[in-house]
């Protein structure tokens, strides 16, 4: 009888080990996904690099973009990455309310970033500089817009996580999800730094 209990205990331990294995697979898989996303963005950057002078008689990056505006966007996104990190730290010490609050701050910062981006888009469109205008603007809207789309997905993801945290407690799945999310969010940050440098900074000085 006791040996039976022992076997059950051993098997449960094995199952826990299997679950860890599972987490490490998920993490590795997610890294691979991020890498493919990196290739995706690299292709978009290449497209932008090829087309950024093809204004077809329209205004160039130098005339269209405002560096301080983009810098504000950058700072907001960087801060959101920081608060996201705080949420992960709170989750590791199982402080549910803190996780929820830091995630909510991140969420609000993300929303502000996105609305700034959309404001810029509508400003451009209103001044007859929409994506129809030239190859350059097509590639600008697509590159920045794809990043924005990723941010939107991140916001949706955060929303679902916050909602679930309200209802449940912090378990293994939550921590795993939060880890993956923070990877994703930091990744978007890095991509944005590239966008900021290549589109706004180099564009601003007219390279």
């Amino acid at each position: 009888m006791s040996s039976d209990i022992e076997t059950i205990a051993i098997k449960q331990a094995a199952h826990v080990a299997e679950k860890h294995e599972e987490d490490s697979k998920t993490l590795f898989g997610f890294w691979l996904y991020l890498m493919t996303d990196c290739v995706l963005f690299a292709s978009l950057f290449a497209t932008y690099a090829v087309l950024h002078n093809n204004t077809f008689g329209g205004q160039s990056a130098h005339q269209l973009f405002s560096l301080p505006y983009a810098l504000t966007e950058t700072l907001i996104l960087l801060t959101s990455s920081f608060t996201c990190g705080l949420a992960v730290l709170a989750a590791q010490s199982k402080r549910k309310n803190q996780v929820i609050s830091w995630l909510s701050v991140t969420f609000v910062l993300g929303i502000s970033f996105l609305s700034m981006e959309l404001t810029e888009f509508s400003r451009l469109a209103a001044s007859n500089n929409s994506w129809h205008r030239s190859g350059f603007l097509s590639s600008f809207f697509t590159l920045v817009g794809t990043h924005g789309l990723h941010i939107t997905i991140g916001l949706l993801w955060m929303f679902v996580m916050i909602f679930r945290l309200y209802k449940g407690s912090i378990g293994r799945t939550t921590i795993r999800q939060l880890t993956l999310f923070s990877l994703f969010w930091h990744f978007l940050d890095v991509i944005w730094i590239f966008i900021f440098t290549i589109v706004y900074l180099l564009g601003g000085i007219g390279v």
Binding site: K25, G29, T36, T142
Partner: protein, 662 residues
């Protein structure tokens, strides 16, 4: 009223229905076939079985079978396109203009290439990988079974979408890679190119997910003791191919998206004028397209490695060389895409560098062929039908390789580019390399999957027909190419003297069709007489790798006890060693539950694709919300695993082990 209706259905209206008798016939025939299948399932009351056992399955073996079924259907569709092309080119000469209008012919050409690469080739590849890879490395499933089912359904619904174009609207007439500006809205105003974009986009995302899935499976789930250098060569080749998938398919996703943005939102990435750059598209599509060729062919190389070694009853020669050759090919395949357009005028330096990089690929490929030959050397070769495919492959592939080396020299390419010589070259590579490899693989692993072997005699006849038919069909195309015949012609003038060669090519194609027919017959006969070829041992070919160590067909969990590996060809070694390994006791196995989420993700993706093609915006919103909700529900729902208890395992295993408890 009519106006409102028109708005509701976007660009879709009654004119979208087929107008030519050939398409109408195909659509009616296809619909009747689909209805017949539905009727049969209803009559046999198999809907729940279909849903529970197949549609919602997350088991890699069943997913593999479904991939192969879809791929074979698509192969037949692609082959019938090929038949029409051969017929048109053999008859449309001088004052005769053949059965197909130029636009129809170009749709057929585009559909043939697209279907064969994306749905026949990729489908057979993922099917075979799903069937055997986990078994071969001693794993119980892939790393992410749900994602695997999603990949399959994206692939399947991509295939559905491309076939919808036959009945509703039209298909792209811009060639299989849809070069702009021809594929831009201005020059292709119909929905054809949109069908092309979205069926590839949906299937392509499925492939990308599969790529990630199999990389993780191979790197994280090998049986205890199986270090990388002890993996079967097929696993290595899949790892190489999936690495290519992970790096190449995002480029395809981007390229298709940009073209879709041009066509749907009026952007100007590839427009003629407006600051667009069509050459960029050609660069991007080949940055994906060239690795894609190696994605298809590496697993076929892996299959040949397994087959040659098994049927020569000998260890694979030059294992390390083979591994290095795979990675050399993976690496080089990213540095050669420009050889697809030397004629763009990039300048001598650029052309020469890409030409030399291209020729370099011949070296590792040649090494592989020599290693296979020396695997056979001093072996005991059994000429089963997989070996016949292999022999055909060696002869044809080498010939095609020489043609490839020729065209890698830019000045020679200026003469042969876009000619039928080029067409003949890549068909030699893809048919003999990829298709023969997959046919051999299907024959080889069929008994593992279904528990009985395929009829050998019919299999051999089919292989002979394919080889002879191929030579007759494509040698004339090589010659036509050097006579100055370009690809994708729907008509030519009689004075050029090309017709006899096209007729010979048509005869060759007919022989290939006989081969295809024999293969269908082979499957039917084999099922009919399955008791004669039953595989009771689990190892019908006296093979070497782990998949043969379990039963045929394998249980749901593949291995009751995970095999422990300490050398290459682990199963061969265990068969030949005198010491029997100590049997461990069974533990419960955690196995993924079935889920319908993958199916619905595919279905909603189809909805999204279809609604963008036809500009039906309300349907797009439905599709999109459906997709997002399915993903959220899946990721937030509870436990996705079920437990197979020890007593359930014993119930399955004890009769197999001859009544003794493990």
């Amino acid at each position: 009223m009519m106006n409102n209706l028109a708005n509701i259905l976007g660009k879709l209206n009654v004119h979208a229905l087929p107008s030519s008798p050939i398409t109408a016939g195909a659509v009616i025939g296809g619909s009747i076939a689909v209805l017949a299948v539905i009727a049969l399932i209803t009559y046999k009351k198999r809907w729940t079985w279909l849903y529970k056992e197949w549609i919602t399955t997350t088991n890699h073996k069943k997913i593999g079978v479904m991939y192969i079924i879809v791929a074979v259907l698509m192969l037949l569709r692609g082959a019938s396109d090929a038949g029409m092309m051969r017929l048109q080119q053999a008859t449309s000469v001088g004052s005769a203009h053949g059965l197909l209008s130029p636009n129809m012919f170009q749709q057929v050409v585009s559909a043939h290439g697209t279907i064969m690469i994306f749905f026949a080739g990729m489908g057979l590849m993922f099917g075979l990988i799903n069937l055997v890879l986990p078994l071969m490395i001693g794993a119980r499933d892939v790393a992410f079974p749900f994602m695997n089912s999603t990949s399959f359904w994206l692939f399947a619904f991509g295939a559905v979408l491309i076939n919808l174009s036959l009945g509703i609207g039209e298909f792209s007439a811009a060639g299989w890679l849809a070069y702009p500006p021809l594929s831009e809205l201005k020059y292709s105003p119909g929905v054809g190119v949109d069908y092309w974009i979205w069926s590839l986009q949906i299937a392509g995302i499925g492939s990308l997910l599969s790529g990630i899935n199999f990389i993780v499976t191979i790197l994280k789930m090998r049986a205890p003791g199986m270090t990388l250098m002890k993996m079967p060569m097929f696993a290595w080749s899949v790892l190489g191919a999936m690495t290519l998938v992970a790096f190449a398919f995002p480029i395809l996703t981007v390229t298709l998206t940009l073209l879709a943005l041009d066509r749907t939102l009026g952007m100007h990435f590839f427009s003629a004028g407006y600051g667009g750059n069509a050459m960029m598209y050609i660069n991007l599509i080949w940055a994906w397209g060239h690795p894609e060729v190696y994605i298809l062919i590496l697993p076929a190389f892996g299959i040949f490695s397994e087959i040659v070694s098994t049927f020569s009853s000998k260890r694979l020669f030059g294992y390390k060389s083979m591994v290095w050759a795979i990675w050399a090919i993976v690496f080089l395949s990213y540095g050669v895409w420009l050889h697809h357009f030397f004629t763009m005028g990039a300048g001598a330096n650029v052309n020469a560098v890409f030409g030399i990089a291209t020729m370099l690929i011949a070296v590792p490929t040649g090494v592989k062929i020599f290693n296979w030959l020396f695997t056979m050397y001093r072996g005991r070769i059994r000429f089963t039908s997989p070996m016949i495919w292999f022999m055909g492959f060696v002869f044809l592939f080498t010939m095609g390789g020489v043609a490839g080396v020729l065209m890698a020299v830019p000045p020679i390419d200026f003469q042969l580019h876009n000619s039928l010589f080029l067409v003949a070259h890549f068909h030699t590579m893809i048919v003999s390399g990829v298709l023969f490899g997959y046919f051999a693989g299907i024959t080889y692993w069929f008994p593992k999957t279904f528990g009985f072997r395929l009829n050998e005699k019919l299999g051999k006849y089919a292989a002979y027909c394919w080889i002879v038919g191929f030579i007759l069909a494509f040698l004339p195309l090589y010659i036509l190419g050097i006579m100055g015949a370009t690809r994708r012609m729907d008509h030519y003038s009689a004075s050029l003297g090309w017709q006899p060669l096209f007729i010979v090519a048509g005869i060759g194609a007919s022989i290939i069709f006989i081969g295809l027919g024999l293969q269908i017959l082979q499957v039917i006969v084999s099922i009919w007489k399955r008791n004669e070829t039953k595989d009771l041992s689990g190892d019908p070919w006296s093979a070497r790798t782990l998949e043969w160590s379990t039963t045929s067909p394998p249980p749901e969990y593949n291995f009751a006890l995970l095999p422990v590996v300490n050398q290459r060809d682990a199963y061969w070694a265990s068969k030949h060693s005198k010491t029997k390994t100590e049997n461990d006791s069974y533990s419960p196995i955690y196995s993924p539950k079935n889920t319908s989420s993958g199916f619905f993700i595919g279905l909603f993706s189809l909805t999204i694709g279809f609604s963008i093609i036809w500009h039906i915006w309300w349907l797009l919103i439905i599709g999109f919300l459906g997709l997002v909700l399915t993903i959220i529900l899946r990721t937030t729902s509870g436990e996705h695993e079920k437990v197979i208890t020890v007593s359930q395992i014993e119930k399955i295993e004890i009769p197999l082990n001859g009544g003794t408890k493990a």
